[in-house]
């Protein structure tokens, strides 16, 4: 045989799942939440989502072009970041908030640390926290045409009662993508069925959070209070879409449970004892910072070490 075959080390076959197919799945899973946000808050929400996604994607493209690096926008990770960031903005925010947030998320948090896979905290959340600190009044202005009152969580904090059903459906004020529990859970189920995410982190996060607010929230395990805490704020969006971010969560299985519990406790502390009614974003980025330590203490025991026997 004159022409030689290709040679490589084993294995010689690869699965069909790729980074872009995973990221695309996440984008699709976020569409129900985004769609409901547009339905709920109108055209402003659509514009803000479009501007933010364009900002993240173009920032990545521009950086890579300028640095003569391989262009990686085809992996859809910048789209995921942009979409997540937009869903965490109030619909009333001006367009330039989306632009600044997108640039910060991609340039500062992602690219300067080495690009995809190297960021030490979730870019979308880091950008949200940056905006929250820099433009507090814009970022906490939830007064739009449809809703004039406080967000449900703020209402609970000041002792008012809330309607659980509208919170589950999402007909409340809040950021674009966080209000509808149904839309978020729908997207999350899609990702779980595809095997993109699993329930380790969301499950331990939500369970530990419920236990924490039940014990320290001052309302005991009152079903109405607990369900409002679950459905309200960014908990669902954070637990299913941001705490599960591959890059910034522990890779060890036990570490993922520990990470979820940590987030649950931190969110509880921020919501109950903090000045704001929210706490998911800060809880997750603090959790992100602790990931290396969590991985270190949850190193799994290799197969057959200590000669363990199956029960």
């Amino acid at each position: 045989m004159s022409d030689l075959m290709k040679v490589s080390s084993n294995p010689h076959v690869r699965s069909k799942v790729t980074t872009s197919s995973i990221m695309l799945a996440v984008v699709i899973a976020l569409l129900p939440a985004a769609g409901f946000g547009i339905y709920n808050f109108g055209i402003d929400a659509l514009i803000l989502i479009a501007v933010t996604v364009a900002s993240t994607v173009l920032t990545e493209l521009a950086y890579e072009k300028l640095m003569n690096k391989k262009v990686t926008i085809g992996d859809y990770s910048a789209v995921v970041t942009g979409l997540l960031l937009a869903l965490n903005l109030p619909s009333t925010a001006p367009w330039w908030i989306g632009v600044i947030g997108g640039v910060f998320a991609i340039l500062v948090v992602k690219m300067l640390f080495g690009g995809l896979g190297q960021n030490f905290m979730n870019p979308a959340l880091a950008a949200r926290c940056f905006l929250l600190i820099s433009f507090t009044s814009i970022m906490t202005n939830f007064e739009c045409d449809t809703y004039t009152g406080a967000t449900p969580l703020a209402a609970i904090k000041s002792g008012e009662s809330v309607d659980i059903l509208s919170m589950v459906i999402g007909k409340t004020s809040g950021t674009i993508g966080e209000t509808s529990m149904i839309a978020i859970v729908l997207g999350a189920c899609f990702l779980i069925l595809l095997g993109v995410i699993d329930l380790r982190i969301p499950g331990s996060y939500i369970v530990s959070f419920v236990l924490f607010v039940g014990l320290f929230g001052g309302h005991g395990f009152d079903p109405a209070y607990i369900s409002a805490q679950i459905a309200g704020g960014g908990l669902m969006l954070g637990a299913f879409f941001m705490a599960t971010d591959y890059v910034t969560r522990p890779i060890t299985k036990n570490g993922q449970y520990l990470f979820g519990i940590l987030l649950g406790v931190l969110t509880g502390i921020f919501r109950i004892f903090g000045p704001s009614s929210e706490g998911v974003s800060y809880a997750i980025i603090i959790g992100n910072l602790l990931v290396p330590l969590i991985e270190k203490i949850t190193l799994p025991k290799a197969f057959g070490m200590k000669g363990g026997r199956r029960a």
């Binding site: 045989m1 030689l4 075959m5 290709k6 040679v7 490589s8 080390s9 084993n10 294995p11 010689h12 076959v13 690869r14 699965s15 799942v17 790729t18 980074t19 197919s21 995973i22 990686t72 992996d75 990770s77 690009g115 995809l116 896979g117 190297q118 591959y246 890059v247 969560r249 890779i251 060890t252 299985k253 190193l299 799994p300 025991k301 290799a302 197969f303 057959g304 070490m305 000669g307 363990g308 026997r309 199956r310």
Partner: protein, 451 residues
């Protein structure tokens, strides 16, 4: 009862339908036969013939040199043409005996026995050793050593590895369907060596016909049971198989005997049967010739030493131009750059593919998705180990149990970023083993995964 299995593993496309329904066909070699002196783990064999000698089928042409070694036999009659380095599947040049086939197949006299009962345990082990039987699943560890552990009375299980978890391979499947009695007799011979052991025929449940057949044939055997395993790669890796069938787990530094087990694959057990009952040395094996480039994929009974070219010809040649050719299965096999290499004792398959996933998909940045951790049967962190290996961080590599990797390939298979994790980790392991001045631990590990 829950299905017998292990934690981790993958379900790649298995391609077995290409060759599973066709009976085994015999191939008679036409060209020269090449016998590398190193087709087993341990010291290369020493030639006992010289250039120009006439040899008979079944005549010893190289003898074991040292304890961990195995003799090699001529599989045709003819003349020794040369003793020179020849290329083998791994790409290395290995000193080999080349025999020109005279096409007469004149055989030596063998010394069969009526029944294994008339042989002592030492005689049985002696016959296996003399016949040059090695682990034919891929590792090539001399079988007689496995059969003589320090404390034979402490062996509780003799496991016949009939999992055949490696995709595309159907040689064990055909052997079980066509010659099940040889497998069962072979297992009974092994049980004679271990008074307290029970025999297990461990078969993946994608072969229900084999399970039924073996169950029927062993229904009166009180010491033998058939166990159905969940179909999952690498179910046939020695350590995973022991865990699935007995619940005992061993690490890479332990031997199956430490868990009271002896494991051999189908072809090896049949070779034990031939050696003990018929007095025949190891001269042939079943090779699956398959893949989407092959016109008529099927299994062949091949005389060891036969050139791969001839196997492809027997299988009708290529119907499409192959891009990648693998000796062995797609998960553990060796990619070869051309067909001009000989069949050895451990050559389980010849897989010819019209596309190459590996070169087609370019590696990109790791996104820490954790799929490699989910599938790793060794329960290590492939992503971290590959990182440490790339930076040559020995300390971290060892403290994260890098040496527990069995090189099964699951992590590279699932990686969405298409990173060559197994390859990176494997290179580091090899360097560490070389540094310790030790040869790879004398046992099969994941290399046995084919079976």
């Amino acid at each position: 009862m829950a299905k017998l299995t292990f934690v981790g593993g993958i379900h790649p496309y298995d391609g077995k339908e290409l060759s599973k329904d066709k009976p085994i066909k015999e191939v008679l070699p036409k060209g020269d036969l090449v016998y590398p002196l190193s087709q087993h783990i341990g010291a290369p064999a020493t030639p006992v013939v010289a250039k120009g000698d006439r040899v008979l089928t079944g005549q010893k042409i190289a003898e074991a040199s040292g304890f961990v070694s195995a003799p090699i036999y001529a599989t045709v009659s003819g003349t020794v043409k040369a003793i020179e380095p020849r290329r083998v599947v791994t790409g290395d040049n290995v000193m080999s005996i080349v025999i020109e086939n005279d096409g007469e197949y004149e055989e030596v006299e063998y010394s069969p026995v009526e029944s294994a009962e008339q042989l002592s345990k030492e005689e049985i082990i002696g016959r296996v050793k003399e016949a040059g039987v090695v682990g034919m699943g891929g590792a090539g560890f001399p079988t007689f050593i496995k059969l003589s552990p320090k404390e034979p009375e402490k062996i509780d299980y003799v496991i016949a590895n009939c999992a055949e978890c490696e995709p595309y391979l159907t040689s064990d499947y055909r052997r079980m369907l066509e010659e099940p009695e040889k497998l069962i007799e072979g297992l009974k011979i092994m049980l004679r060596l271990f008074d307290n052991a029970r025999g297990i025929l461990a078969v993946e449940d994608n072969k229900p016909d084999c399970i039924e057949l073996l169950k029927t044939l062993t229904k009166d055997e009180t010491r033998i049971s058939v166990k159905a395993l969940k179909t999952k790669y690498p179910q046939g890796a020695e350590r995973q198989l022991i865990y699935a069938t007995t619940g005992r787990s061993i690490n890479s530094k332990m031997l199956p005997a430490d868990a009271g087990c002896v494991v051999n694959n189908v072809d090896t057990i049949v070779a034990i049967y031939h050696a003990v009952m018929l007095g025949k040395p190891l001269m042939n094996r079943i090779v699956t010739v398959t893949g989407d480039a092959i016109a008529d994929p099927r299994n062949f009974i091949v005389r060891i030493g036969t050139n791969y070219h001839e196997l492809v010809e027997e299988a009708g040649g290529f119907k499409e131009k192959p891009v990648k050719i693998v000796s062995g299965g797609p998960m553990m096999g060796f990619g070869i750059f051309d067909l001009d290499v000989p069949t050895t004792k451990t050559a389980s398959a010849l897989l010819c593919l019209t596309q190459d996933d590996v070169s087609k998909m370019e590696p990109s940045a790791c996104i820490n998705c954790g799929k490699c951790v989910e599938v790793c049967p060794g329960r290590v962190l492939p992503r971290k180990l590959a990182d440490f290996a790339e930076h040559y961080d020995e300390e971290a590599f060892l403290s994260y149990n890098g040496m527990e990797c069995c090189e099964c390939g699951c992590c590279s298979f699932v990686c969405p970023a298409k990173r060559p994790l197994t390859q990176t980790i494997k290179s580091m392991r090899k360097m560490q083993l070389a540094k310790r001045g030790k040869k790879p631990a004398p046992k099969d590990d994941g290399k046995k995964a084919k079976a």
